[in-house]
């Protein structure tokens, strides 16, 4: 729990109760599974889309 509280403090989340810290731990664990699936080898020139717009031309 001390390690988790240190992590929370480092994230600026220093008002979390012990119950909240347990929730943070579960939330981070769930997100880790998704992050592990992200590709890390996309071509350097591949762009991002900050605001995504679908276009009728794609149909």
């Amino acid at each position: 729990m001390t390690e988790l509280r240190d992590l929370a403090r480092a994230l600026g989340l220093d008002r979390l109760s012990n119950e909240h810290l347990a929730q943070l731990a579960r939330a981070l664990e769930t997100m880790e599974r998704h992050v592990a699936r992200l590709p890390r080898d996309l071509p350097p020139a591949q762009e991002m889309a900050l605001i995504f717009r679908a276009r009728a031309a794609d149909a």
Partner: protein
């Protein structure tokens, strides 16, 4: 008049225009029904009886004077309580926003009001449109009219519940990872997530900017098309709004599916995630039915559901954390447990994580566009299970992510959920139709053919019809 609980927009509108039904009479009857029944279902956070009757009287006077504004004139509707109405609180079902008075109408509210709609009230949601059914918030969670012990889906839970219970004929929901389509699936109604940018998000409390959609929820397909017609269109004040022409969504409704190419995304509900047997059988039966109605059925493949889920969840968590960071740091105890846990998921993400997901999103979108190239519309699952009990934390945790919806928040394509029968338990089954960007009219055409052939949307919960 007899209680008009399950009168749809189309039918009510025709009666109102012919002056066989008064908007005041309709509104009064629905308000009485809300007063009598909603204590069991909790669809509403805030009914607005006085305001509704005032607007209904105005509609009645206008129509009597020959000033009929269109098919939505005098039609009662309700809004998920993350959508602003000037002068009313937008609470997002949270203690944090209990006193948050809206200073202007959301763009969609303004459109519905201009069309002459009669707002009955603001509806339950999951806290900030994320999380799940919670018993530690200022208002109780909505309950499924088909069995009040069961989860109604969410986060637009009040919208789905009120429609299934016959409390109103039209509602708006929002959908970031499936929040229109989940309650549509679990409550047995129609939910449309339009193309990203088709409907303005201005004045709607954000969950994740690049995944958020606003859309209509109704009991019938034709009603849904009619409501989208009212709210669709370009809004220069929404940075993601699309400047694309809005077609007549009713024009091709009755053309049937003969000659259409329908792609079945079978791997979403079989090999990627094994769907419930009854749900899977209902979707396969729908594919067979479309074939008998003259459509060409073929299987198509997209990237695995897990790829879409990972991409979408990372984007959602990062964008939602940006919205909630300050409150999570200063007032974490003011959130409910489920909302807090879901929102904390973004705390540990790096900038690189988020950007890799946003870059990957384009790859996934291109893969989906390629898969859709040979078809007019796709058929797949929405929820992979019928509704579980609302108080069963283990079942909620196990089933909440078993869905095939977030893929189309990632791609931005339009997706519609329609009832596909009933499980042995009596709870609704559902299917999802997915279209090309801005091809909502095609989804309505296919859904209308299915609705006409099956009649599932004519059924209502026992004791409420």
């Amino acid at each position: 008049m007899s209680e008009p609980a399950f009168l749809g927009i189309t039918e009510a509108s025709a009666l109102i225009r012919a002056r066989k039904l008064s908007p005041v009479e309709l509104t009064t009857a629905l308000l009485a029904r809300i007063d009598r029944l909603d204590r069991s279902f909790n669809a509403f956070i805030r009914p607005l009886p006085e305001r509704a009757l005032k607007v209904a009287r105005q509609a009645e006077a206008e129509i009597a004077a020959g000033c009929w504004r269109g098919a939505f004139h005098g039609i009662p509707y309700a809004l998920k309580d993350i959508i602003d109405v000037e002068g009313l609180p937008t609470t997002a079902h949270s203690k944090l926003l209990a006193d948050n008075l809206a200073t202007a109408d959301a763009a969609v509210t303004a459109r519905l009001e201009a069309a002459g709609g009669v707002l009955l009230g603001k509806l339950s949601t999951h806290e900030f449109a994320i999380g799940g059914p919670s018993f530690d918030l200022p208002w109780p969670p909505a309950r499924n009219p088909w069995n009040p012990g069961h989860f109604p889906g969410g986060s637009s839970s009040g919208s789905g519940v009120g429609l299934a219970a016959g409390l109103f004929p039209a509602a708006l929901g929002t959908d970031t990872g499936g929040s229109i389509r989940n309650p549509a699936s679990q409550c047995g109604i129609i939910g449309m997530k339009p193309t990203y940018g088709r409907v303005s998000r201005r004045g709607v409390f954000p969950l994740a900017f690049s995944l958020d959609h606003v859309g209509p929820m109704t009991r019938g397909v034709r009603d849904n098309a009619l409501m989208l017609q009212v709210i669709a269109g370009h809004d220069p004040l929404d940075p993601a709004s699309a400047d694309e022409p809005v077609p007549d969504y009713g024009a091709s409704l009755s053309e049937g599916v003969r000659g259409l190419r329908i792609g079945v995304i079978r791997h979403f509900y079989t090999t990627d995630v094994a769907g419930d047997a009854e749900m899977t059988a209902a979707i396969e039966a729908a594919a067979d039915l479309f074939g008998r109605l003259g459509a060409e059925i073929r299987e198509i493949r997209l990237p695995p559901l897990q790829d879409f889920a990972a991409c979408g969840q990372v984007i959602m968590a990062a964008e939602a954390y940006a919205v909630h960071e300050r409150w999570l740091k200063e007032r974490p105890g003011d959130y409910g447990a489920r909302g807090r846990e879901r929102l904390l998921a973004g705390a540990g993400l790096s900038a690189a994580d988020y950007l890799q997901a946003v870059r990957w999103r384009l790859t996934l979108r291109h893969a989906a566009a390629n898969a859709f190239r040979g078809v007019d519309v796709a058929l797949t699952a929405s929820s992979l299970d019928p509704a579980c009990r609302i108080d069963d934390d283990a079942a909620l945790a196990a089933t909440y992510s078993r869905q095939a919806r977030i893929a189309f928040n990632v791609t931005g394509q339009p997706a519609l959920v329609i009832p596909a029968g009933f499980a042995r338990s009596g709870l609704p089954l559902s299917l999802q139709l997915v279209g090309h960007p801005f091809a909502e009219a095609m989804l309505y055409r296919v859904a209308e053919a299915y609705e006409t052939a099956t009649g599932w949307t004519e059924r209502h919960p026992a004791g409420l019809a």
